[in-house]
């Protein structure tokens, strides 16, 4: 069928004008929204959506922003969970989880990485064994965000050790509020504790919480990660600051605060290019030609990186699928951040011997020095990105694989 954006704009506007109330409770409003289908218009009608094509979403969001209407809950990884269940879940799983994901009543976390399998995600060794009709889980996950808040987790486990590693994995929804699940904070070198380690000791999962077929875990995980990449490229949405008239905004702010707290240092991790020129001016180091060179390199790289991202987005708008080019951007961001680290060190001079309150800009500089090293590791190391670029973008020959055959026999940590 053919979509008419004006029609859609009219419809959503009318609906909002009749229903939006900044003083409703978040719970009331979001349930209303979810039932209306305007919360997730691109989703199927049957599951709180309107079957709208992605291309029409901007129209809807514009209308929401116009009157500052609050949308469905988006923070954390809840939407990755929802999208994954939409593709791979059973109807009863969708019945049970989707609404409360969108209303924000339930918090989710992702349990993929393990101490022993970082770059090599398919090497997970957390095991799930079927005993007396339930799945019993043992093992350890790491780099989990908000696990201590989470009600449910997306869990990747190994259920078969006698097949090649990608084939022996199964994907579950696990109830985080149970005895067998222990959550410990994981502190980083910059002093923040944005992640958790999660220990499973005979944790229990009912059979109907298995997502997709036995041994299909890798495919399901790929769906989750694809949406994660996509989300990383979009962002925005509920980012803009809102006026504070209306109790619902306070509720929403509280909700966001909890789940965005772990990310406060991410801008520092990216090098804070935005501060570089001003720092050079305020420290007077802008008069040093050598500092000027490094600063110019940084600013040029940063602008070129933005333009390159814009080119990629434009290409997608023209219908080209978002492919491994994402790795190029990630690699560029690492390079920019490292150069920013260099420049901030130069402009701060001996002040970069300090951190916390004594460090310039109320500690921001110190936090940059201690956070940038993460950018070339988190979400796939630079080395992994370079492999992806070489093999998938440039089409260079793959490395010989040494991890084939039954997983049981593959060399491990």
């Amino acid at each position: 069928m053919n979509w008419n954006s004006d029609q859609i704009r009219r419809d959503v506007r009318i609906w909002l004008e009749t229903h939006w109330d900044p003083n409703a409770t978040l719970h009331e409003w979001r349930n209303l929204l979810v039932d209306s289908g305007w919360g997730m218009p691109s989703w199927p009608k049957r599951w709180f959506g309107m079957d709208l094509p992605q291309g029409m979403l901007p129209v809807v969001f514009e209308e929401f922003d116009r009157i500052q209407a609050v949308g469905v809950a988006r923070t954390g990884i809840r939407l990755l969970a929802a999208e994954t269940l939409l593709v791979h879940g059973t109807d009863s799983q969708r019945e049970r989880f989707l609404r409360k994901i969108l209303t924000g009543e339930k918090i989710w976390c992702q349990l993929f990485s393990e101490p022993g399998s970082g770059s090599d995600l398919a090497g997970v060794t957390t095991r799930a064994d079927l005993k007396d009709g339930v799945w019993v889980v043992n093992g350890q996950k790491v780099w989990t965000t908000s696990a201590h808040h989470a009600d449910f987790g997306l869990l990747l486990t190994r259920t078969d050790w006698d097949v090649p590693k990608h084939q022996g994995l199964t994907y579950f929804v696990v109830d985080m509020k149970q005895e067998g699940v222990e959550v410990h904070p994981l502190k980083q070198m910059n002093g923040h504790a944005s992640f958790n380690q999660v220990f499973f000791t005979d944790a229990v999962i009912p059979q109907d919480m298995r997502v997709d077929e036995l041994g299909n875990g890798w495919q399901v995980a790929m769906t989750t990660l694809m949406h994660e990449r996509r989300a990383a490229n979009v962002l925005g949405g509920s980012r803009q600051t809102r006026p504070n008239e209306g109790s619902i905004y306070l509720e929403e702010a509280r909700e966001n605060a909890i789940l965005t707290e772990p990310y406060t240092w991410y801008p520092q991790r990216a090098g804070r290019v935005d501060l570089a020129l001003e720092r050079a001016r305020s420290t007077g180091t802008i008069s040093h030609p050598v500092v000027r060179q490094e600063l110019a390199k940084l600013l040029m790289m940063a602008r070129c990186t933005e333009w390159t991202a814009a080119r990629a987005r434009a290409a997608q708008r023209q219908g080209q699928p978002q492919g491994p080019e994402g790795s190029l951007g990630k690699l560029a961001n690492s390079t920019v951040a490292r150069q920013a680290l260099k420049v901030h060190t130069m402009t701060s001079g001996m002040d970069s011997m300090l951190e916390g309150s004594d460090s310039p800009m109320d500690g921001i500089i110190g936090e940059i020095l201690l956070s940038v090293p993460a950018i070339s590791i988190a979400g796939g190391t630079d080395e992994i990105q370079k492999n992806i670029i070489a093999e998938r973008v440039l089409g260079m020959e793959k490395e010989p694989r040494l991890d084939q055959g039954p997983f049981r026999d593959v060399r491990k940590n």
Partner: protein, 366 residues
């Protein structure tokens, strides 16, 4: 601005690419290197006439195609890819730009013959040695007579006439002057240029009769130089792309220790890093092209970004391409050095990366 090219633009690019792949193969390039003029007149004229590129960004009133500088830069990118060495850069780009910039009343007499490739012009604006940027390249005009010298003049030996940026000791100040290459007072000596495909000349003027075409004040001069920088930058990213393609192709074919060298991380990561640098430089070159055609306020800074990024990436690409080819990459028979020579030469032409990094930072000063 939109960060993508239109159907039409992509078509122009592909037409030029196909044309040059056929008419400017490396075998052909090597023949031209040995030839007297150093370029193929037919290839140039059919680029200019048949493909209609002779005045691609020249207003139709002067017989041009009336397209923007964006299309011009797309063409230059392909010329860089193919290492095209004809007078396009000197005549159809630099000379046209100089004439359009100074807005001479004689545009109608001069530009059409350049557009139609009936005449080759070039611009003599760079002085001797490193201090290229000197606006005071020592060329002075007095009572219609030009004295002084210019150097690093592209195609100076093949041009029918020269457009000289010189200073009139009278209050007229700096202007653009036209000089007949064959005048007895014009002494043109060829320079032994590293880049076989872009010949350079040193020119001395002794009491040469000349006509002033128009003023060429500081603003005009920087606009002219910025156009040159951005054109050059797009040509350079084209050359860098060729080097990357060549490295990938060779590393996929070359087998050592029972595997293609392209399957080794050392080579893979070198190529991945190069692709990243290249994409960044391309973005800068495209962005600057748009800025020039839109006359954006900060175009000078964007031109410097484009030149700095493309200078670094082209040299890196050519050097990596040699390295990845190994011994064979250092031989004369292998084509890589032809691009390496262009890369090293373009790296410093009109200012190297460090110069333009400084320029860029100055452009940010309030």
């Amino acid at each position: 601005m939109e960060f993508s090219f239109s159907e039409e633009q992509i078509q122009i690019r592909e037409t030029v690419a196909r044309f040059l792949a056929e008419r400017n193969s490396s075998i052909h390039i090597r023949q031209l290197i040995e030839s007297k003029t150093g370029y193929d007149h037919e290839v140039w004229t059919s680029l200019g006439r048949d493909l209609g590129l002779g005045g691609i960004h020249v207003p139709t009133e002067f017989g041009g195609a009336g397209l923007s500088y964006v299309e011009t830069c797309l063409v230059l990118e392909q010329m860089g890819y193919a290492l095209y060495g004809g007078p396009f850069f000197s005549s159809n780009l630099l000379s046209v730009n100089a004439l359009l910039c100074c807005g001479t009343t004689q545009a109608h007499e001069l530009i059409p013959d350049i557009v139609s490739c009936n005449q080759i012009a070039t611009v003599a604006f760079t002085g001797k040695r490193a201090g290229w940027a000197r606006l005071d390249a020592p060329s002075e005009v007095n009572k219609g007579r030009l004295n002084g010298e210019k150097s690093f003049v592209t195609d100076g030996l093949t041009a029918d006439y020269l457009l000289v940026i010189a200073n009139d000791e009278s209050e007229a100040g700096r202007g653009l002057y036209v000089v007949d290459s064959n005048d007895s007072g014009v002494n043109i000596s060829s320079l032994n240029s590293l880049d076989f495909t872009r010949r350079l000349a040193h020119i001395e003027f002794q009491d040469v009769p000349t006509t002033r075409l128009g003023d060429f004040n500081f603003e005009t001069h920087s606009e002219f130089v910025n156009l040159a920088l951005v054109g050059l930058a797009n040509e350079m990213v084209g050359g860098a792309q060729r080097m990357l393609d060549s490295a990938i192709e060779y590393s996929g074919a070359r087998v050592q220790f029972g595997r293609t060298i392209g399957s080794l991380q050392a080579i893979k990561h070198k190529c991945s890093e190069l692709l990243m640098d290249l994409e960044l430089a391309k973005s800068a070159a495209y962005r600057a092209a748009a800025a020039m055609s839109e006359q954006e306020k900060d175009r000078a800074g964007l031109a410097s970004i484009a030149k700095a990024m493309s200078s670094d990436v082209f040299v890196k690409a050519a050097s990596d391409c040699i390295q990845i080819h190994g011994g064979i990459g250092f031989t004369w028979e292998n084509d890589t050095h032809l691009w390496y020579r262009r890369a090293k030469s373009s790296e410093v032409y009109l200012g190297d990366a460090s110069h333009h990094r400084e320029q860029y930072l100055q452009s940010l000063e309030p």
